[in-house]
C-alpha cells in the first residue's frame, strides 16, 4: 500500500507543520512507514507552499508525492496549482471560504467542501485551521484514531494547546460536504503520469 497526501495552500497557513504532525501521528503513534517532504517559496509568507506525506506499510522507496490520493487545498491558488497533479480516483478537500472555484479539478476526482478556516475561527484562532484540517483528515481518511492524532498535536503543534485541541475536535467531528458538479464544470485535462512538485 502506498498513499500520498498533500496539504497545499499559502505560506503561513501551517501546511508544512500540518504534514509533520500527520507524519508523526502515522509513523510514531500508528505504525505506518512515512516520509514527509515539503515545498515552499522564498517568501516569508504568502507564497505557494505545501506539505506532503507519503505513507505505506513497507519502506517508502520513492519519497515524493506524484499524484496525491488526498489533496487538502486551503487556498484558491493552491487549487489551481495542484489540479494538474490529481488524477481520477483521488479526493480533494477544499476550504469552504478560501476556495470558490474548483472547475480546474479534473473529472473523476471527488471534491469535498470542508470548513477548515471557519473551524479555526470557532476554536478561537484562525491559524489553527491547519489543526482543524488534521482533525478532518484523520476522520475522513479513517487512517487515524482521535487519540493518535491528538497525541501528535500535543507533542508537535506549537501555540495554544487549548485552542489546538478545540480545533482538532471540531475538525474530527466535521463531515465535509461532497461537491455537486454543474454540467461541464470539470476540467477535461488529465495530468500526464508522474508530475510532482
Amino acid at each position: 500500500m502506498r498513499m500520498e497526501v498533500r496539504f497545499a495552500g499559502t505560506g503561513g497557513q501551517g501546511l508544512v507543520k500540518a504534514a509533520a504532525v500527520l507524519a508523526h501521528a502515522l509513523g510514531v503513534e500508528a505504525s505506518y512507514e512515512v516520509v514527509q517532504t515539503q515545498f515552499y517559496s522564498g517568501q516569508i509568507s504568502g507564497g505557494p507552499s505545501c506539505g506532503d506525506v507519503v505513507l505505506g506499510d513497507s519502506a517508502i522507496e520513492y519519497p515524493w508525492v506524484m499524484h496525491p490520493d488526498i489533496l487538502v487545498a486551503m487556498s484558491q491558488p493552491s487549487v489551481y496549482d495542484h489540479s494538474a497533479n490529481v488524477v481520477p480516483g483521488a479526493k480533494v478537500l477544499v476550504d469552504d471560504i478560501m476556495v470558490t472555484d474548483v472547475a480546474t479539478i479534473p473529472a473523476g476526482v471527488e471534491i469535498y467542501w470542508a470548513p477548515f478556516t471557519r473551524l479555526g475561527d470557532e476554536a478561537g484562532f484562525r491559524k489553527a485551521a491547519n489543526v482543524a484540517a488534521l482533525g478532518v483528515f484523520a476522520s475522513f481518511s479513517g487512517l487515524l484514531s482521535y487519540a493518535q492524532i491528538e497525541q501528535a498535536v500535543v507533542k508537535l503543534a506549537p501555540g495554544n494547546r487549548k485552542i489546538n485541541l478545540a480545533a482538532l475536535r471540531l475538525g474530527f467531528d466535521a463531515r465535509p460536504n461532497p461537491h455537486v458538479r454543474k454540467l461541464g464544470e470539470a476540467s477535461a485535462y488529465v495530468a500526464p503520469a508522474f508530475r510532482g512538485v
Binding site: V35, T37, Q38, A193
Partner: protein, 380 residues
C-alpha cells in the same frame, strides 16, 4: 532503539552527537539553518558548546580551533557558504585538523534559489580549495543513512586528521521520516591518533616517516608541542631531507594518507548491475528516481542496474568500472548540469560505453519517467 520522526537535519545532528561531536559553530543559511537550530538546542544538553558565528569563515575557523583543543567539531552550510569556507578548508587540510562540514546543497551559482534543492557541489567539494587536496565526501540517500554517514564522516575526519564533508541536499535535509535511533553508547566511534609518550619526547603534530602516516596530534593545552597551525605546509619528516624534498614529501603525504585507503573509503551500493546492459549512476536523493526507473525498465525487458555512490570523494571509479562490465550505455541522473557525468565519463574512458545524463536545475526532483525516456531514446 527509539522510534522517532526525524528531519534530515536532525538526523545529521543526532549522528554527530552519537559520534562524539561536542562543538558546533555555524552561521544560518537556507537550507542548512535547521542543522544549526537543532545543534543550538542539543549541544548544551550533551555538555557541548554551540557558537553562533559572524559568518561562514568564522564558523569553520571556530570549529578548527575547537578541534585543535581536542573536541570533535562540526559546522554546516550551503553552496554560497561553502564557497566562503574554501580558504579555511584548505587550511584544515594543510594543518591536518579534523573538522566535519555538512553541506546542504541548494541551487546556484551565486545566491541562486535559496529554497531550491540541488546537487551542485560535487566538484567544489574536492576542487574548491587551492592546491592538491585530499577530500572525503559522503552523500546519504535516506534520513536513516544521514545519521550513519554523519557518524562515518566524524570517524573518518578523526582517523585521517582531515576535514570531511557530508554532501547532502535541501530535499533530504528538510525531509522527515521515521527512524529507529540506536543506543548512542553502542555506536562505534574512532579517535584521532594522540601522542602516547611523554610531552618531552613528542616532536610535533606533523612528524611522519611514511607517505601514508597520520601523525599523532596533541590537544592544545596538554603540554604536547603544537606548531602554530597557520595553514602553511609543515615540511616535517623523520629522515634527513632537503627543504625541497621535505615539501614534496609532506604535500604528497597529505594526499596519500587518504588515497592509500581509497578502496575502503569508496563506498557504493549496486542494484542488479551483474547483468545490466544499462547502468544508472546516481547519488543522494536522485538514487530514488534511478531505482524506480530501473524497476520500470526491467518490467519492460530492459536490463537496467543502479550504482549508488555513497562516497563521492575519493571518487569510486573502480566500482563504476565493475558495475559497467556488461553495460552498453550509462545514464547519470543528477540535479546539476553534469558534474557527476563528467567523472563517470572519465572513469569509463576507453570502454566504448555511451554516457548521457538527465539533468535538473529547476529544483524539482528528476522523475523515473524521464530517466526511462532517456534510456529508451539511447537504445533506439
Amino acid at each position: 532503539m527509539t522510534r522517532r520522526l526525524l528531519m534530515g537535519s536532525e538526523a545529521i545532528c543526532e549522528g554527530a552527537i552519537a559520534a562524539g561531536v561536542r562543538f558546533y559553530a555555524g552561521y544560518p543559511i537556507t537550507p542548512a539553518t535547521e542543522v544549526a537550530e537543532f545543534m543550538s538546542a542539543r549541544m548544551p544538553q550533551v555538555g557541548g558548546s554551540y557558537v553562533q558565528m559572524e559568518d561562514e569563515m568564522g564558523s569553520f575557523a571556530a570549529a578548527m580551533g575547537a578541534s585543535c583543543a581536542g573536541v570533535k567539531a562540526m559546522t554546516a552550510s550551503s553552496g554560497p557558504g561553502l564557497a566562503l569556507m574554501q580558504e579555511e578548508i584548505g587550511h584544515a587540510i594543510a594543518g591536518e585538523i579534523p573538522v566535519v562540514l555538512v553541506n546542504v546543497g541548494r541551487h546556484g551559482p551565486g545566491i541562486g534559489n535559496a529554497t531550491g534543492s540541488a546537487q551542485m557541489e560535487v566538484m567544489q567539494a574536492k576542487y574548491g580549495p587551492n592546491g592538491d587536496c585530499p577530500m572525503i565526501a559522503l552523500s546519504p540517500s535516506t534520513i536513516e543513512e544521514a545519521f550513519w554517514l554523519t557518524v562515518k564522516c566524524v570517524n573518518l575526519a578523526e582517523r585521517y586528521r582531515t576535514p570531511t564533508i557530508l554532501l547532502t541536499e535541501g530535499l533530504l535535509a528538510l525531509q522527515r521520516s521515521v527512524v529507529d535511533l540506536p543506543d548512542y553508547g553502542k555506536v562505534e566511534t574512532w579517535e584521532r591518533p594522540r601522542p602516547e609518550g611523554a610531552p618531552s619526547e613528542y616532536a610535533n603534530p606533523y612528524m611522519a616517516t611514511s607517505l601514508t602516516a597520520v601523525p599523532p596530534m596533541g590537544d592544545f593545552g596538554t603540554g604536547y608541542r603544537s606548531i602554530f597551525r597557520t595553514g602553511g605546509i609543515q615540511p616535517q619528516h623523520g629522515a634527513k631531507m632537503t627543504r625541497f624534498e621535505a615539501q614534496h614529501f609532506s604535500t604528497t603525504r597529505l594526499n596519500q594518507k587518504v588515497e592509500a585507503h581509497r578502496d575502503e573509503l569508496a563506498l557504493t551500493e549496486a542494484l542488479q548491475t551483474e547483468d545490466a546492459d544499462v547502468l544508472y549512476v546516481a547519488f543522494g536523493t536522485q538514487f530514488h528516481p534511478a531505482r524506480a526507473a530501473m524497476q520500470m525498465a526491467r518490467a519492460k525487458g530492459i536490463k537496467a542496474g543502479v550504482l549508488r555512490l555513497i562516497t563521492i570523494w575519493p571518487f569510486p571509479d573502480k566500482a563504476i568500472r565493475q558495475a559497467a562490465q556488461h553495460a552498453k550505455l550509462a545514464v547519470v541522473p543528477e540535479m546539476n548540469l553534469g558534474q557527476l557525468r563528467g567523472l563517470v565519463t572519465q572513469a569509463l574512458a576507453g570502454s566504448g560505453i555511451r554516457i548521457d545524463g538527465v539533468n535538473h536545475v529547476n529544483s524539482l526532483t528528476i522523475t523515473p519517467q524521464e530517466i526511462l525516456a532517456k534510456t529508451e531514446d539511447m537504445l533506439r
